[in-house]
Symmetry: C2
Subunit: 408 residues, 2 copies
């Protein structure tokens, strides 16, 4: 195969995870190693918006120490954006601009790091570049705390968010039992359509301190059923710890917790408020004292509690994306495959972007208990290896050190 000599452009997109910068580290360090084929490595500022506005970080000129801090840095070190690319057959403007930028910077490798919506963007770009015959290798680098990308065993970002959720739930549960009984605590966890992260709360149960009830968006939510469940657990224990997904929907698909009616750039409703709603029901209708904890954005940004397994895989997924691109792959996303061995082991693969864009993988039925208010052993066995190990944070004077880059 002929070598495609040209520059690489990498970008981050969608909600940050605590390890998306670990994937950036994998991409950047691997690309910089291949200077004969990839002379220059650029990163877009704020994802595709930076590509359209020609706002790049030139990674060849950055401080190595800062690059080395990436696996400990939360957020999106280069900025992210939620921006929906139109269908190029309907509106070509953005694509013409991108092609102009790609030509100007001789971009021949385009690596895009994100979740479902970002893989849609990535696919559209690969599709357009094929359409106009511009020789480029477009590769998707998966990330999402939601773990809802198809054709991969799991997604970088999920393990660390799951570790944060499980450890926090464990602490909340232990804090709860310190008090005399008589309280329900409802913890609200991120997840729009897929309940993977909420289900991860169950891992705390393995330590002896976990939730009594777990409600996932995969199971139509009934307030009557919820009240009965709480009544039963509370009747037995005089206390109850509940984990709920922010994306809970009733049997008609109506969100339980959507209060604002606002939508984002992709048309998704803004979530939040399901725990308050359920807490109010317990307080007013059942006279049970309850309180809520909304974990919020800390779930995706807790760099101080990363899963080492997740960090290492996130780095490797980034490296593989570069290797696949150099091998001539185009229009694929890197995937993680779990070996069928007793000990947890993964290999890396690839899958066409067109099968991934906009498809959400929800929790399969056999990982949810029959009663629809918890998980099965199969889920625990699936999720536990993903939170193993602790990527010890880099503290200096009590605070963490995060990477900083200058545009140049």
């Amino acid at each position: 195969m002929e070598k495609l000599v040209g520059n690489l452009l990498y970008g981050q997109s969608g909600g940050p995870t605590s390890v998306i910068n670990a994937s950036a580290y994998g991409v950047i360090t691997e690309a910089l190693k291949n200077k004969d084929i990839i002379p220059d490595v650029y990163v877009m500022q704020h994802g595709i918006q930076g590509a359209l506005n020609e706002e790049f970080y030139h990674m060849n000129k950055q401080d190595k120490e800062q690059i080395d801090l990436l696996p400990h840095t939360p957020g999106s070190a280069f900025g992210t954006v939620r921006y929906k690319m139109p269908d190029f057959r309907e509106d070509e403007t953005d694509y013409i601009r991108l092609l102009y930028i790609f030509r100007k910077y001789n971009i021949r490798y385009f690596l895009f790091n994100g979740g479902n919506d970002s893989m849609d963007t990535c696919f559209k770009i690969s599709d357009y570049m094929k359409h106009v015959g511009y020789d480029i290798r477009v590769i998707g680098v998966p990330k999402t705390i939601d773990n809802d990308l198809p054709h991969t065993d799991h997604t970088p970002g999920f393990g660390s968010a799951a570790k944060y959720v499980a450890c926090t739930i464990q602490e909340v549960a232990y804090d709860m039992i310190a008090y005399p009984k008589g309280k329900v605590t409802i913890v609200e966890i991120m997840g729009r359509h897929a309940g993977w992260l909420t289900a991860a709360a169950s891992l705390a149960t393995l330590s002896g301190h976990g939730p009594d009830l777990i409600y996932l968006p995969e199971v139509p939510f009934s307030i009557e059923k919820f009240k009965n469940d709480v009544r039963r657990v509370y009747g037995e224990n005089r206390q109850c710890l509940v984990a709920v997904s922010e994306g809970l929907k009733d049997e008609n698909g109506i969100l339980i917790g959507s209060s604002s009616g606002l939508r984002d750039a992709f048309g998704h409703f803004q979530l939040g408020g399901v725990s308050s709603k359920l807490s109010n029901i317990l307080n007013s209708e059942m006279r049970i004292s309850s309180r809520t904890i909304e974990l919020g954005t800390t779930q995706r940004s807790a760099s101080h509690l990363q899963s080492l397994t997740d960090v290492n895989e996130a780095i490797e997924v980034g490296r593989r994306a570069v290797k696949y691109a150099l091998k001539g792959e185009h229009g694929i996303m890197v995937t993680i495959e779990r070996s069928e061995t007793d000990e947890y082991k993964v290999t890396y693969g690839k899958h066409p972007l067109k099968d991934i864009a906009n498809i959400e993988r929800i929790i399969p039925k056999d990982m949810i208990n029959e009663d629809g208010n918890g998980v099965t052993k199969k889920f625990l066995e699936y999720a536990l290896p993903l939170i193993e190990g602790h990527n010890s944070p880099k503290f200096i004077h009590g605070m963490q050190r995060f990477a900083h880059f200058e545009k140049n």
Copy 2:
């Protein structure tokens, strides 16, 4: 001085901190070392309620491995309670019961671990036992994430909560800049009358990623001033990170965020909701998009992010309490005194409980900036040493290990 031979009873009271069990570790291990004077070491279950109900953990019979896990265990490993002891001159019932229990178990050392309200309980018991001439040494062991006990430089529990708040704010701030601008984030932090913990958010600024505005209960809160402050910062940066204390009050002392009107056993209003209220004002009156993060009970239970300085001091405070008791002290609380050296160093002292009970130490004026929306260098210099070091959590299979004891 004559040796007082008899048993020791220790208890935990009030809201947990992530290091109250480190103090328990200090008390228990030090007491167990002195078997000739203290044959048996008991711990009350759920604080004073356990003492009244004769529900004790007999520590001489516990597994050493479990005791060694205490410094890594959040919550209150032996249970806590909020129970207000009456004035014994008005109602002696509880005191007569306690005296009966003390005699039955030959309790001659009573060590009580808590904050303001608990030091009130501790003082009342010491006072009563003097009144009836029962020979016992009553010692207060300080703890509170609120850092509001007087006559001590700071309080065990504050440093770890401050570290959690500062690190989380740092992560939230870094997450915020990942997005294109146009958002205000309001983080709500615990603290009823004293803003120490909210002020700790400022430590994140030292890392380059901190809050733009900080509102403390020490400064009467004006919604108009808040709107002007946000307008200014948002006008300059198109984004703004705000840290608010849940205990904010207006110039008439009315809580900004008290929605429920519920009071606890000590007559304190239940807090919460100030960030939502302020966010609604920004959204509706100023048309600025904002979101809220309520840190909640995770602030006091985050055993995975303890300050090593705080853990070590919490252990030492427990040890000193036993040493003071053995030396014949009675009716005092152990204090921490900071040396006037460049390098951070502390010594330990004592102060009469009667001067501590029910007195809350708020942030002094010279630690709050002139504009009333931030802190001064003096606060940063005060607080930074307290979050130094990381007490690496004990993980096993991705989850933390916490102590467990059997009543016996």
